[in-house]
Amino acid sequence: MSSTSEVMAQRGSPPSWPQRIIGLYHNRHLREAITGYAFIVPAFLSLGVWWLYPMVYSVYLSLTRWNFMSPTKRFVGLENYARLIQHAEFWNVLWNTIYFSGATVILGLTGGLVLALALNQKLRGRSFYRAMMFSPWITPTVAAALVWLWIYNRDVGIFNQILMFLGQSRIDWIGSGQGMLRLWAMPALIIFTVWKSIGYNMVYFLAGLTYIPSELYEAADIDGASAYQKFRHITLPLLSPMTFFLLVVSLINTFNAFDQIRVMTQGGPAGATRTMVYYLYQNAFEFFDVGYGSAVAVVLLFLLILLTFIQFRAARSWVHYG
């Protein structure tokens, strides 16, 4: 392998520029770097075109007024954001998003943890239980939502059948009820989403539990610790990395939730289940108010970045590694 200096030593004179170019070919570090860049070019070309550029473009679009059809986009500055803040529906949407995400994540993680604890014992039929409870996750959300649409049906759905059997009145779960009846649409969606993701959380927690050495529990038993104490001082802390991971992932997933809303409620009744993603979809693709929709997108982006940042900061105080 000849470098430029070796060529110099051999020829006894400074290398000419063709020789230097050939020398470059033999330069291992340059070849390494070029190979490295070549390997990441497909990924970063795609990343740039379909992720980074769209993010910047979204910000630009949020400053315009456009309806997908006209060839020009009218620049209107921060007008979309002003409309956003003044529009009562936006605050309703924001609340719905927080309500939906918060409830789903809390219920989903708690349920997943409980089930994982139960499954962690040496039981027969473990894999059967595990498979049954994980199965909702692999099905298409749309297909599952259609089935649940019927379970929630006011007249023939199984939930109301049970309620009537117990002598209670029927609940208009996701129908077009007024007033108080609006209350049940979001819980209906939350129940569905928890049902879909609980197996996933359970499996992750289970994996995390297997990393806790059993000697710790045995030592605690000898010290006479109660089950609650063992849970609080051994299980929870050692499970915290997994909990943190699931927290972040679940939050992102619930913020992204769309399929079930579109299939089951379309944001209704009267906006009771309209989350930010659905609000974005409606404004951009149903009302063709692209600028406003992009403003919603930008707000969503910043909200999620903020929440993730807060989570990472808070993690320092409650997540124990190693």
Binding site: G36, A43, S46, Y57, A131, T139, P140, W195, I198, T308
Partner: protein, 428 residues
């Protein structure tokens, strides 16, 4: 009885208590798990039983689990109501497989570089790639839609390049593998064989090009894909042949390795073809397969996952490869990937399931009935042919058919699914 109790020591009593606690907790666990499993699996059971009932029975049944008469005809009826269902399924399959192949290639290359190749900015790029996991993908949908509706020329050129060159590489690998097989059968290397088959393929490619490709290229600025391919194949083969002829004759090789010449020439041809040929990849990618597949090309999850797997390989393996003079590409395909099969399988399963189930993106960019994917097909069937729930038996039948393959594959391969999913988050 009294002798027994007096013989029980303190430690014995404690052990007995612990054992009793353990049995109780096991019973509680069993009960909880059984109840939960049944509750969670219940909607699928409900769906399957409803798929087998008549519409009248559906209205009357309350808690009925088993249909009184099994209506297999529901499955035929929904197909008749919507004959496009096989097409929906095919679209979903094409999308899922296309995305899988693309994502795996892109992520493997990138992860390999992040793990094994030292280049400036490596950590920064990795950080950028991983940070996209935090971004809600919805934010990119509107601009992506706009880009798809009017694809810029340079992007089409890039894709034209990529697809022509991959086509050539695949073809070449097939032929070379065949040659290796035959060499193995013969037991020794045969120069005559190498030159002979390359010569034959060259003759075939020349014939194809002269008879079909050349007229097509003369037709206009938009060069069909296969015309470009045939020209590339011809030129490439000339050089392959040339190199083999060279190696047959003793004596000095040319100053630069012949492969460099080949690369430069190939690059030139590809660029020429790419500029000529964006016509075959039109400028409107809405309602197309490439529009469904290509925007999902990069999977940050895949990059993350593969980097975990690659970095757990022992360093000596890579060093041994370097000493043997293997190129990075060969090391990737022959050393790193075969040793990471579990992670690859996890990724395959995860990605196939994710994109088979996708709904939002296809909803945005497809319009024609023939381009719908299965999830969209199901929802539209519910609205149009199921009349918003009046024909539940058909809807449930369609649902069952859509969901059943996934569930069956899942139950058979559940270990791969579950254990693969669980190992991804541990080092997070």
């Amino acid at each position: 009885m009294t002798t027994l109790t007096t013989r029980m020591t303190e430690a014995g009593r404690m052990a007995h208590n612990i054992r009793r606690k353990r049995t109780i907790s096991k019973l509680v666990a069993h009960g909880l798990l059984l109840a939960s499993s049944l509750l969670i699996a219940f909607p699928f059971i409900w769906m399957a039983t409803r798929a087998l009932m008549t519409p009248e029975e559906l209205k009357l049944s309350r808690f009925q689990l088993i249909p009184s008469t099994i209506q297999w005809t529901n499955f035929i009826e929904f197909w008749q109501a919507e004959p496009l269902f096989p097409r929906y399924f095919m679209n979903s399959a094409i999308m899922a497989l296309g995305v899988l192949i693309l994502q795996m290639t892109v992520a493997c290359l990138a992860s390999y570089a992040f793990t094994f190749i030292r280049f400036p900015g490596r950590n920064l790029f990795f950080f950028i790639a991983i940070s996209t996991l935090m971004i809600p993908v919805v934010v990119t949908y509107v601009p992506s839609y706009i880009i798809l509706s009017d694809m810029p020329v340079w992007l089409r050129v890039a894709w034209s390049l990529l697809l022509s060159s991959s086509g050539l590489v695949v073809l070449w690998m097939i032929l070379r593998t065949l040659e290796r097989v035959i060499t193995g059968v013969l037991g020794r290397e045969s120069h005559l064989l190498s030159i002979a088959w390359r010569g034959i393929v060259l003759a075939g490619a020349l014939t194809w090009f002269i008879s079909d490709g050349l007229p097509a290229m003369r037709a206009g600025p938009a060069v069909p894909f296969w015309a470009a391919m045939s020209l590339m194949l011809v030129v490439f083969l000339i050089f392959e042949l040339g190199e083999h002829l060279f190696s047959w004759f003793p004596g000095d090789k040319v100053a630069l390795p012949v492969s460099i010449w080949r690369l430069i020439l190939l690059g030139g041809i590809l660029i020429f073809m790419a500029i000529q040929g964006p016509g075959w990849l039109g400028d409107n990618w809405l309602d197309t397969y490439q529009g469904l597949i290509i925007p999902s090309a990069v999977s940050a999850f895949g990059i993350f996952l593969f980097r975990q797997g690659f970095s757990s390989l022992p360093k000596d393996l890579i060093d041994a490869g370097k000493i043997d003079g293997a190129s990075h590409l060969r090391m990737l395909t022959e050393i790193v990937l075969p040793l990471n099969k579990p992670i690859l399988i996890t990724f395959v399963i995860f990605t196939l399931v994710l994109y088979y189930n996708s709904y939002f993106w296809p909803l945005l960019i497809t319009n024609r009935a023939t381009m719908r994917v299965l999830t969209i097909g199901l929802q539209i069937f519910f609205i149009e042919k199921g009349y918003y729930g009046i024909r539940w038996h058909l809807i449930m039948a369609a649902n069952t058919v859509a969901v059943a393959p996934l569930l069956i594959v899942f139950f058979v391969l559940q270990r791969w699914f579950i254990e693969g999913v669980a190992t991804t988050g541990l080092k997070g």
